[in-house]
Symmetry: C2
Subunit: 394 residues, 2 copies
């Protein structure tokens, strides 16, 4: 075999306005490159403690068992599902997008008796339909997505949480895209288990999945009859590694935790309320610009539209792939295409974490105008940027 | 809740001579900090291809399905087990250390009918006993550890592979500690599935797990009756993400793959044979030094002693924790303590990847002499360093 040695890493600089990863701050990249220490080094144990303390603040929880799973957001989903659900347990999984569907698949793989509650892509669930389903099926767990990355829909949770808990079930919530960009109030909303990803509104590269578990969720795990199907994601063992015992489980991704540590420092230094307001502001400016260009959101009700993930309908006659390719090649801007049934129908424009800023909104609207113009589809030159600027000057 | 914001990341600089993570080259740390791009960016797809091409060379295989799992070595173990084994399948797992025991635990969790073949810590398995067990139990899969990180034992595989395949079973091998430090000849030895970690002899920080599967292993997966218990680690889906389809599965850890890419470049630039010889040389010098200091290896037969992980017996009357603490605090040197039944009985001294070098061997021997001297347990001042130097001058 002849040795083949490719060129060194030298990525193009992108503006990451897709569904994640989002733009990463230079200080987070620098933290990633700090010298590696051992996974049981006193310094790393301190970093683990600090990551936990900061994650509790971002999750707005006092939950002791709050930490980062050594895998991406989907590993966090799997962690929550496989630990909370035993074979034969009844679970209601709410599916109004790709990630609800994924949660149902994960639950079925562990042998759960899954009832899928379905809504068309882009809609959200009403308290009434959850109440009816819970009443009918009497599940141990209800799983739902807070911020559907595939559709841009924001699911209200407050009333649903009451209904779920009144029925004695546990509430499992996907917060992959919401955490750090809008309130994820674990304790106030009484959420039992939640998972997120680092590469969305926390603006850290992908690789870790923050999770949090309520005391009730831990009690349910303690009462399990069978071992958790996954060794790697077994919270019983991870509690001893991330807890006071520091019992060796696996070798944590040291440098990824450095990066998350710095990303969380930036979140807390900005302040949660200020960060949420920033996401809201740039979303409104982008929305004003897109609307002025005649581009509509795919989530009909704007109250249920995510600020950090703007899913819009591709205008008739516009070549999806050509626009995204031109945005990437001519401007270095990444946006996302539609997922699942939305493929070819929507664009997903992220304003997550570091990427939620004025310069990205203005650049994107101007660049999109050029791309649409290249296809003869730009109705009103200058309208998008003008409308966004108007919102900023309010 | 009052915001608590810890100090920025500023790790102490360590010399990592434990069981992993190992020392990381500055160029690998720099690659980690390269700008993040999207996980479906043409640039990242190229990096994935190049990582696969380089991993095939390091694994010495033509296996198409060779890639990096988005988790640490234990996630790679779980990937191999859950994909190869269905509930009710018979598996023989060879346990002569902590990691064989872990593999058996993972296999039991997926509902395998597991036969544990046990050997005391530090010993290896003979072809005859594997042959007898395979003959008796007729398993679908035989799992064994190539390089037991908990004991420092090197398991010969060539004859065992023949026995396993003659019986129609698949061979699953843990190469976490061996890959990049001694030959892992997947194709020549006819290994069907193997996993490793990035933080051992590849000298990349922890966070990814290289795996490889033979066409026979993939055929067994294609013939499965049930879905794989883990969605995150389902090779059927990962094949479409890492293969030509590039179908979205999860968001790969972009920057960790940058780091692995550079680490693999360094391995191939050095050349596998030269790298293996380097590990062997520094192991021999360390062994000469330790022996001159009256310190014995815990693996009795030196033919079965790993070059990159030197497990030695702590001399009588020496305070294990005090020595390791002094090495860390006074010299910045990390070594490992014993795992499982070896706790308090052995030290594990790693010479992995970047850490396998003359200066580490000499520094460690000199530092250990000082630590033993502090406890009044250093018999012959200067003997260790002198013996290592003698080996280097041969």
């Amino acid at each position: 075999m002849t040795a083949t040695c490719p060129n060194p890493i030298q990525p193009p600089v992108r503006t990451l306005m897709g569904p994640g990863p989002s733009d990463v701050a230079p200080s987070v990249l620098a933290a990633l490159a700090a010298p590696t220490v051992g996974h049981l080094d006193p310094y790393f144990l301190q970093i683990m403690d600090e990551v936990q303390t900061m994650l509790r603040q971002v999750f707005q929880t006092e939950n002791q068992m709050t930490m980062a799973i050594s895998g991406t957001g989907s590993a966090g989903m799997e962690t929550c599902v496989v630990n909370l659900i035993e074979p034969g347990d009844k679970a209601i999984i709410c599916q109004n997008g790709v990630f609800g569907g994924r949660m149902a698949d994960v639950a079925e793989r562990v042998g759960a008796d899954v009832t899928k509650l379905e809504r068309p892509f882009g809609e959200v669930f009403s308290t009434e339909e959850i109440a009816a389903a819970v009443d009918q099926h009497k599940p141990e767990v209800v799983g739902i997505v807070h911020a559907e990355t595939s559709t841009g829909a924001l699911q209200p949770l407050e009333e649903i949480s009451k209904v779920v808990h009144d029925a004695g079930a546990l509430l499992l919530v996907d917060c992959v895209t919401s955490l750090g960009g809008l309130p994820v109030e674990i304790d106030r909303l009484n959420i039992d288990a939640a998972y997120s990803g680092t590469q969305k509104c926390l603006s850290c590269p992908p690789g870790l999945s923050p999770v949090t578990f309520s005391p009730q969720a831990l009690a349910a795990m303690d009462a399990r009859k069978q071992k958790v199907s996954s060794w790697y994601l077994d919270i019983g063992m991870l509690r001893n590694y991330w807890g006071a015992d520091r019992a060796y489980h696996h070798t944590a991704p040291i440098n990824m935790n450095y990066g998350l540590h710095q990303a969380l420092r930036l979140v807390l230094a900005e302040g949660l309320e200020a960060r949420f307001a920033r996401h809201r502001l740039h979303h409104e400016a982008l929305r004003a610009g897109l609307q002025a260009m005649g581009i509509a959101y795919s989530v009909a009700n704007s109250d249920h539209s995510l600020p950090m993930l703007n899913s819009v309908l591709i205008p008739d006659g516009v070549d999806d792939a050509a626009v995204r390719k031109q945005l990437l090649n001519d401007f270095g801007i990444e946006i996302g295409g539609g997922l699942g049934p939305m493929k070819g129908k929507t664009w997903r424009i992220g304003l997550m974490g570091e990427a939620a800023k004025k310069s990205n909104v203005i650049l994107f609207l101007g660049a999109l105008e050029q791309c649409l113009g290249a296809q003869g589809k730009n109705a009103e030159p200058g309208a998008g940027v003008a409308a966004a600027n108007k919102r900023y000057l309010e």
